[in-house]
């Protein structure tokens, strides 16, 4: 199995005037292809910041992020965007569909960005897979929250990502809808063999992954389910 994500001694600090706020520090872990991992922790613990850094949405203050063999912290924003387009899929709590595009067009965007042609059929197949083939020409505002998240799922898998990052994927949905979306997410992930990293408050959801990394106050406090070889000496971080 190959390493998909490698996080080394990651630190993130925000500066506001004279104040320096460290939101993440001393984070180390590695994920192999096909792994599923949940990052859990209380509000303000730094889990979303960690997801952003892992996905190349932000730059670390120090340490490194290596995604699919590409070291992200040395790349420009545009180069990181290209990495995201090639290897990464995203699912957001608030769906983040583009309001001016139909469901189908939203799913097509990552492929079109790659310059691929004749992507409509592929996108339609994905929409059919999430049960929304007949709603393909609807705009996000014409869809319910669950439907929007299913479109978002289709979009996330459309570029055949190596790794999928999900930020509270069911956080904005009622329980029943959330369960459906959850099942669909794991199902699609299994089929595609994609590495999955999800950030959640929901411990029930987290337990469906192979590995759970707990964060508190910007530090990793536990890492359950991690393969022996990748266990890191957390030192003082371990509670």
């Amino acid at each position: 199995m190959s390493t998909i994500l490698e996080i080394n001694n990651l630190k993130k600090t925000y500066n506001s005037g004279d104040r320096h706020l460290t939101v993440l520090e001393g984070i180390n872990f590695t994920l192999q292809a096909g792994d599923t991992c949940a990052i859990v922790g209380p509000s303000g613990s730094g889990k979303t910041t960690l997801l952003g850094l892992c996905a190349g949405l932000d730059r670390a203050s120090s340490g490194s992020v290596i995604l699919n063999g590409v070291r992200l912290d040395n790349l420009s924003e545009d180069a990181r965007a290209q990495v995201r387009n090639q290897y990464v899929g995203f699912i957001f709590q608030n769906f983040q569909l583009i309001p001016t595009l139909t469901a189908l067009e939203n799913v097509m965007v990552p492929l079109e960005l790659r310059g691929e042609r004749n992507v409509k059929r592929e996108a339609m197949d994905l929409l059919a897979r999430v049960g929304l083939a007949d709603r393909h020409d609807h705009y996000p505002t014409q869809l319910s929250g669950g439907e929007q998240q299913r479109v978002s799922l289709a979009r996330a898998f459309s570029n055949r990502p190596t790794i999928l990052f999900a930020d509270e994927p069911t956080g904005n949905l009622d329980e029943e809808t959330g369960d459906k979306v959850e099942s669909l997410l794991f199902e699609l992930n299994r089929e595609a063999g994609t590495t999955l990293v999800l950030v959640t408050h929901d411990l029930e959801l987290a337990e469906k992954t192979q590995r759970i990394i707990r964060i508190k106050g910007g530090h990793v406090v536990s890492d359950t389910g991690a393969p022996e070889a990748t266990h890191q000496p957390y030192g003082s971080n371990i509670s």
Partner: protein, 856 residues
């Protein structure tokens, strides 16, 4: 799964897809985009209309060039030709046919209506015009009047004095039968016809009219229909040095075309500039609209960035949208401009010497479309540039600072581009670089003042916030400085629009008040000129008999200047570094002599000559200040005048400032008493009548008793001037309408844009229990403050600009007429508030949830 590694150096742009994305992304914003583009439509329409009209006019002038002067060559002079001049006139006459014409201002008497009027009498002999026609009703009158004692009379005069063909008109001492109504003379505009209406008489009767007396101002014109072998321009150029020496001038079809092209081009340039200001105003609208539009698009850009779109690609998506918007605006503007230009020939016909048929100018339309794209892109570039820096993190945290904090040097490049564009464009419209720099400087100054004031307002409100005021007032005031406020954009766009409109109104009012000022009490309102020496006492007596005061009664002597500090005409021609124009030597001066300064004169330098000239040494003379500057002399310098054949050495003893705006006889050169008394001279008398009846009766008596003396009422001059200024200002106002409507559109657009900012919090307030009245109060407060301040500053700028134009450009005393500014101030403020309130209707009348869903 792809194994390709990213190549950061070679991002794929995929232009066709970006274009598709740009189109898709407009789906929910097309209404707003249409409003944005509408703000440039009128500016472009104004420019396309004016430039199309310019092309149409040029074409008309080219097509009808020969009819503009009615001959191959015209020679003329403003004094009686001497034997040398006559030799040239006759020698050219051997090269073809010749017609002679004398022009002079004189009174005519309409026998039927028993009224008099000052007109330009043209005594015509020969077959002129050789090309085109003197248009008359009946048509044949233009030829038949020459055969007998018959006259052609300006058709407007005939209407005014209820004269008809066959009626009598007295010109000088002779009565003529009116043969026809005069409608158009080759090369003459309706405007000049209105200022000096023409009466044609056959030249053979001129001596009998007695109009040519000593000192009479008569012009001599000679029209030639040259043989085909003779090139008029070559001949004109060959004769030019001699003609200039004898104080003569010439005109050919080509010289007339060139001079006419120049003067109409200047008018068109000025009007195009008014259009350009409208366009600039629209550009402010575009910039502000795109700025807010981009802010609304941040989330979408964040998502696209997250999915792998590069900054450049995101930038291009929105650049294409703006280009499309500019293209549509340009096309709409070009189409509207092409329609508007159809009415321009009608609008301008008073000023035009030829009938202009409007035609579609592809060049002007293409320029308009291109301009639409260029200005939209240029003025949208600043907000567009920030797209490149939108962070994808916005997808995870809505509260995240959306833009990365990189310093963007490209912003400075954009500022440079904007500045360069305004300079180059205004240079294109105005013709000279210094004018372009002045114009650009003025525009930037106005922008800066308004921007600084907006910043100052936000700061002041924040710094001295009235914490004890009621909630509605506090909320309304706080909207002026809170994040996403529209203070800067609204202040600049509303303020600039107000400044422009205000300036136009002020200038127009100042020009008109300048004219009407002359009609105030105790100023003369009746002038008698061409009074001969022998008639002096009798005219004075008649004036007194009619109960009219003699306010001024000045002798006038015609002189010419031969030397300035021993420099002759030949010297100044040879050495152009002297910067003395040759015409200072070739023209005639009408001078006077007296022993005291008039009340419109003030000593600038030297000593006024009170005493009679002693008879020894150079004659001490007083010069008007600007004239002295023109001929480059100061007190003590020597001059040599030619007083109708006799040379007279003089020295500059006194330089005085003259208020030319005063209605009285003013002179460039004043001699002391005891020098010119015996020289051939005529007199000008100025008086004041209390009413029109008295003036008309006096004028009639003057014409009856002294046919050669002309009397003109200043009320007629005032009426004519008012008409002329009115027509000019109508044209300017017509063009200003484009700015006014653009200003309104920008206002609607800006307020509408701010609606998207305000609607969510208004809805939130409604949700929390705020009632209609409170929301209305908050909105009213915010827009009233913005409207009042922007309009007030705009008015102050307008006041300054109008002052500068009056003093530096029109060189006249600035008369502050404030009421137009007050009206503009009130209207702009009310409009701002009204548009602001209208835009809030949606929030006020619907349930909050519905609004939130609709605006989401």
């Amino acid at each position: 799964m792809s194994d390709t590694k990213p190549n950061p150096d070679k991002p794929q742009l995929n232009i066709p897809w970006l274009l598709k994305m740009a189109w898709r992304d407009t789906r929910r914003s097309r209404g707003r985009l249409a409003l944005f583009l509408s703000s440039i439509v009128l500016g472009i329409a104004a420019l396309v209309a004016i430039n199309s009209f310019r092309d149409s006019l040029q074409l008309a002038i080219d097509e009808k060039a020969r009819t503009l002067i009615g001959a191959d060559l015209v020679m003329g002079m403003n004094k009686e030709p001497d034997s040398l001049s006559m030799a040239i006139i006759d020698s050219v006459g051997t090269l073809g046919k010749r017609s002679d014409e004398n022009r002079m201002m004189s009174m005519v008497y309409f026998v039927n209506s028993n009224e008099t009027r000052l007109v330009q009498v043209r005594a015509l002999g020969g077959e002129f015009p050789y090309f085109g026609a003197i248009e008359t009703k009946p048509k044949e009158a233009s030829r038949s009047f020459r055969e007998d004692r018959r006259a052609l009379v300006d058709h407007n005069l005939m209407l005014q004095y209820e004269a008809e063909v066959g009626d009598s008109i007295r010109v000088g001492a002779l009565t003529f039968a009116i043969e026809g109504a005069l409608h158009r003379i080759p090369g003459q505009t309706a405007m000049t016809a209105a200022v000096a209406p023409v009466v044609y008489i056959p030249r053979q009767y001129l001596p009998e009219t007695g109009l040519i007396q000593r000192g009479s101002r008569v012009s001599y014109y000679y029209y030639y229909d040259l043989d085909e072998a003779v090139q008029p321009d070559t001949l004109g150029k060959k004769l030019d040095p001699r003609l200039e020496e004898y104080g003569m001038f010439y005109d050919t079809v080509e010289t007339r075309k060139a001079s006419m092209g120049r003067s109409y081009d200047e008018l068109a340039r000025f009007l195009a500039l008014v259009g350009f200001v409208a366009l600039l105003l629209g550009c402010v609208g575009v910039a502000s609209a795109v700025h807010v539009y981009m802010r609304d698009k941040l989330a979408t850009i964040g998502i696209l960035r997250c999915l792998g779109m590069s900054g450049k690609q995101a930038f291009l998506v929105y650049l294409f949208q703006v280009m499309g918007m500019g293209l549509l605006g340009g096309i709409a503007g070009a189409a509207l401009g092409s329609v508007v230009q159809l009415v321009l020939p009608e609008l301008f016909k008073t000023f035009l010497p030829v009938t202009v048929d409007a035609y579609f100018s592809a060049t002007a339309a293409t320029q308009g479309v291109l301009l639409g794209v260029i200005v939209s892109v240029l003025f949208a570039l600043l907000p567009l540039l920030s797209i490149r820096q939108v962070s994808p993190l916005i997808t995870l945290r809505a509260t995240f600072e959306h833009l990365t904090n990189q310093k963007d040097l490209l912003r400075w490049a954009v500022y440079g581009l904007l500045l360069g564009f305004i300079v180059v464009f205004s240079r294109w419209q105005l013709g000279t670089w210094w004018q372009a720099f002045y114009f650009t400087g003025g525009v930037i100054a106005a922008f800066l003042v308004l921007a600084l004031l907006a910043k100052g307002l936000s700061w002041t409100v924040k710094r001295f916030f009235p914490t004890h005021w009621g909630y509605v007032w506090r909320q309304g005031l706080a909207n002026l400085y809170r994040p996403n406020n529209q203070t800067l954009l609204l202040m600049v766009s509303i303020g600039l629009g107000t400044a422009l409109i205000g300036t136009l109104f002020m200038v127009q009012r100042t020009l008109l008040s300048e004219v009407s000022l002359s009609g105030t009490k105790n100023q003369p309102n009746l002038v008698l000129f061409d009074i001969q020496n022998s008639q002096r006492d009798q005219v004075g007596e008649l004036t007194k008999q009619e109960g009219l005061p003699i306010l001024y009664f000045d002798p006038i002597v015609t002189v010419r200047l031969e030397q300035i500090n021993n420099l002759t005409l030949a010297d100044v021609r040879k050495d152009t570094t002297l910067e003395i124009k040759p015409w200072n030597f070739t023209r005639e001066y009408r001078v006077t002599y007296r022993d005291q300064l008039s009340d419109s004169e003030k000593t600038e330098e030297g000593t006024w000559i009170k005493n009679q000239y002693s008879g020894s040494g150079r004659v001490p003379v007083s010069l008007e200040q600007r004239y002295a500057e023109r001929i480059k002399v100061k007190v003590g310098d020597s001059l040599l005048y030619n007083v109708q054949g006799a040379t007279m050495p003089a020295r500059v003893a006194h330089i005085r400032r003259v208020d030319w705006n005063r209605v009285q006889t003013n002179f460039q050169v004043v001699f002391p008493e005891g020098v010119l008394e015996e020289a051939p001279q005529f007199h000008v008398l100025m008086t004041r009548s209390d009413n029109e009846q008295q003036a008309a009766q006096f004028q009639r008596k003057v014409v009856e008793n002294f046919p050669n003396v002309s009397a003109i009422g200043l009320d007629l001059i005032l009426r004519t001037l008012e008409e002329v200024v009115g027509q000019i200002s109508f044209v300017i106002q017509f063009m200003a309408l484009f700015s006014i409507f653009t200003g309104l559109l920008v206002l609607v657009g800006s307020v509408n844009v701010s609606k998207f900012q305000r609607v969510q919090e208004s809805v939130l307030l409604r949700t929390l229990g705020a009632n209609k009245k409170q929301i209305l109060g908050i909105t009213l407060m915010e827009y009233a403050m913005l409207g009042i301040l922007a309009a007030a500053v705009g008015c102050v700028i307008a006041f300054g600009a109008a002052w500068a134009l009056a003093v530096f450009s029109f060189e006249m005393e600035f008369v502050p007429v404030l009421w137009p500014l007050l009206v503009i101030f009130v209207v702009v403020t009310l409009l701002t508030v009204a548009v602001g309130l209208l835009n809030s209707r949606g929030v006020l009348n619907r349930p909050p949830l519905e609004v939130l869903r609709r605006e989401a």
